[in-house]
Subunit: 345 residues, 4 copies
């Protein structure tokens, strides 16, 4: 059984394992103050072309989301996001557990539409009862989104602009950021992200690391004040912080993060094309490592004999939406095998 069901089915990139073995008996300070974490911060700042950036490492994506939101909002404020956003749906109420509401706007193609955001903010402030409503205190988007789509530089620029008009921070969840950069449609750079967002994170867990996300505060404006205490309070401060530092050191050396991401997206495109060539439609036109072919029950049954992948809940329709993921760990051989089986459907 070959797994295409998610992008976190294996351990980590071999270069990271090598580094862990190599450094294992080094004695370092704890809680992220070790030389590897400090070096990784420098590498990321350089990759962002932003010497003012501040980088913090946490264990996972839900942690990054919860902790950044807890850091940024005042008690009566909420975070604006699309209704399909990870924080709104799949974090078991982690955001609400910090006391904050997810203020949802219907997604379009998985994304937050600039005009929808604008009118949401206008309506809030125009409402004579807005004191009785949760105040929008920041904006959260993901790129790639839950459905694999990405924001263009133009789209991000528009959203950033409206956030600045309303003086609320823009936070970008980059749990799969590498796979966005690896897309042929991408026109965004880390520098752009660093310019346009107030805080974002670079996902490691799904892009080559055992665990770890690098949170980047982009401006020297105090938004990250006392952030380490907020990380600690929200249980994201790793005693052996070096474990994340070492991993990002490797990922941001010799372009590794970007290379492994690009390869995964290329493999996803091969899978997409194979399905399309067999006449299957895609649920959504994803340019990244997640693909969503709409398959017949028969096709699903056949593929399931050798491959695992996600299917949407059965609604009785003759065809069902499925999801196939590649990752930094996907081998060409496994993709070849899948392609072989697709062609035989």
């Amino acid at each position: 059984m070959i797994r295409f069901e998610c992008d976190y089915a294996e351990g980590c990139h071999p270069k990271i394992l090598d580094a862990l073995v190599r450094t294992n008996f080094e004695q370092t300070e704890g809680y992220g103050m070790d030389p590897h974490s400090l070096k990784a911060e420098e590498l990321i700042k350089t990759a962002c072309h932003n010497e003012d950036a501040r980088v913090y490492f946490v264990v996972g994506g839900t942690q990054a989301n919860k902790i950044v939101i807890a850091q940024v909002l005042r008690p009566h404020q909420g975070v604006v996001c699309v209704d399909s956003g990870h924080i709104a749906v799949h974090e078991a109420g982690a955001i609400e557990a910090t006391g904050h509401k997810c203020l949802t706007i219907p997604q379009k193609n998985g994304k937050l539409d600039f005009a929808d955001l604008k009118s949401y903010l206008e309506n809030y402030w125009a409402d004579p009862n807005h004191e009785h409503m949760v105040q929008p205190g920041m904006v959260y988007i993901s790129t790639p989104t839950e459905v694999g789509t990405i924001y263009s530089k133009d789209e991000l620029t528009q959203i950033s602009k409206i956030c600045r008009e309303y003086d609320i921070p823009l936070f970008v969840d980059g749990a799969r950021l590498g796979y966005g950069f690896g897309s042929k449609e991408n026109d965004l750079t880390l520098k752009d992200l660093s310019d346009l967002a107030d805080v974002f994170y670079i996902g490691g867990t799904k892009v080559g690391a055992l665990l770890g996300e690098a949170i980047v505060f982009t401006k020297p404006n105090g938004l990250d004040r006392d952030f380490r205490s907020v990380i600690k309070q929200n249980v994201g401060l790793l005693a052996k912080g070096r474990l994340i530092g070492i991993q990002f050191e490797e990922l941001f050396t010799d372009n590794l993060y970007f290379d492994i991401s690009k390869k995964a997206v290329d493999q996803a495109n091969r899978i997409k094309n194979a399905f399309k060539e067999k006449g299957f439609e895609m649920w959504i036109d994803s340019p990244t490592n997640q693909q969503f072919p709409i398959l017949t029950r028969e096709a699903i049954q056949k593929l399931r004999q050798n491959f695992s992948f996600m299917t949407w809940p059965d609604t009785g329709e003759p065809k069902m939406i499925t999801r196939f993921c590649t990752s930094w760990a996907t081998s060409d051989e496994d993709v070849d095998k899948l392609l072989g089986h697709i062609r035989e459907l």
Copy 2:
């Protein structure tokens, strides 16, 4: 200027004022352990035909909502409600501040549809990732709703049934409960509510009292365990609790609560009919004390010279939705004056 903009523009029913004057120098225990509060509890239990009921008094509706929800839910659970629900929209995030998410379902006529609730609960438990999603831990509805509609006994019975199937409590917000009972369409009694809901409250603030809501736990099942501490923690325990006890004592003596409610609804119906007779449509067909005529700008401008009422945000359309409220304090004279002006439109 005569106010029809809300149902809390005046003080309280004169009988209550009399009672406050009469009892002012009585010395009593604090925090709701006084004889008036105990007597009021008995009166309400009798009105509910439920000797097992437990009654607690708090200051306002948002308090009642927040405190009951905090009492009932475990940390990973949320409260199911319609998207127009008071807790979801107009409580400044009071529910989220207790750590809980409002799990919203689109409203139909201001109400929660039984079938929608059923499918929501089914889908949650059928989702293989439901552990990562907020668990529906209780259901919240209001009757009358935000838009003045009410649940029939049949509708409430259906919702109650599905709640019991899923073993989650049903909570009914009755901030305007009297005005529901005062409606000609009403077929629900306090006894029904006490049978079908696990916890509900009887609103005083909008129905004759200076402040105060009576929360009724209907079953001797421990759902109210240590509830007074949860009230205290959520700042709803009034030092001079007698202030609420005395008011409910009056309201539940000689049918006062029901009589003043019925009168207010009758007045609202007169206003509704006057608007309809002049050819204005109603935004929603409300059988209670809130009426929502859709008026021309010209009509609004004219009426505004003598009356205050709410208007929906101006969307540029030629007509606008408005709201006229009556209450226990609305005088026949004021209604007559309004009717006179409506007829002249």
Copy 3:
């Protein structure tokens, strides 16, 4: 049975009742935007000699404490207070429910000692692990304290100074503030409080009102930004806000608040002196409306036949600490009766 057990056993001052009756059918805006609340704010600002002050009304003391603390602190911060502080002991965890720790310092005579506070703050910042500890983000004191003692102007000035050195707000709980001002030992004015504290409140519940506390933000520095939303979220915004406004309007007209307080303290002194004349010691030397005679079991038993008062838990000692409270409502006749019985002990 005459009650000396607390200072909230009766209703409210007759002038307030008169005002409630007089204004009952006035139609006003809700949520504290009515003319009475606005007038009361002006009266309080004048009494504080502080035109920059911002005044907000909430229902009770625990509300005032919870809401101000929620407003002021960032998530990783706590509130410094004495271990006997109301927020640390008797609010059922209301502060922790907002996510914040009470950072306690041992009380001295019920009060926070300046030098203890200084060394607490120094030690926190000197600790190399302070990032892992809750950051002191504000200071809370009460005057009068839980045991009736009061801060002198000098003491308050010292505490204020250290708070400003560390750039953290000073919050003064004045649930019994009137009884402090009514003390012969008092050398503090509302103006001093307004100068030295960043936020404080003037208690109404225990000093003549049915309910209500007036929170005063003393500086135009934005500390109260969006405070009404935080009040709403923490369920302290009263729909019929006029109820509190009218009461403070009366209390701050013709010196009523101060006169009724002074009288209560004078009565408490009579009680104190009567006990002392009979040779009973005081547990603490309280100059305000609470007195703490240490009585024999026999004396307690005798007095209990006609009077209610608090006793500390029975530790088996021959004598027990008791508490006798006077209030704005205490009549000279009741004090005379008590004095008669004390003399006969």
Copy 4:
């Protein structure tokens, strides 16, 4: 520079690294449902001689503490612990951020005294105002404690008994559990812990792992109901959960966890004895891997040239408390070097 400052300065035990390398490209389910996590659960249940136990893995000790406490308490309840407890002092308010108070009792030798606990619980329930006070809802202890002391089986039995009398769960923080079991004074087994505690955890981070703690619910009584959702909400659910599973699989194979712990404690004893032989006193008589010699400034200065270790804040006294930690990673050579320098002091 050789580090004796903490027990998390290195990576992980080589056997764990080997296992990570060996399993790296296995494809597994995420979020702890992989075969390694399931196998590790079985190994731990066997080690506890408790087939009813349920085991959950989280990343770190603060996570384990926060999540278990959030799971167990109702909103108005707090957790009883000693004033030096990790949750009360060094978790940046993580517990309070879940809404719960740490109810502290003065420590004795770092431990919770049975009689103190008993009287705390008695006093709470005897207090007529206990509804206004945070209800003790569970008891938290650590073994070894923050100062290296351990609970005997007798002591734990007494505490367990009083917890059961009051029907509140006993939670044991075992972040350094191995070092307790490795002590010569220890008379406690995993089976005892499993019998006497309701929930405890076995620390991996400080005892050989890169990260990871194994939380054990010991009774089939539903205390762990929906615990995975509470873990997710509190950001402790690792996407690549196998990372922790693999580590505990190794630690609980061939007695590894116990052997490496015992060795570390033996090394700590060598250090303790060396200091004592030179006439230095110990601040506390710790039988585990942390030792607290009281050293002269001169001794500190000399040792600092080659070794890092913690010192307590300088109070101006001629001698200072220090802490020397060993761990699973401490080499005999490093201990020999330290002993050499101690002997030369």
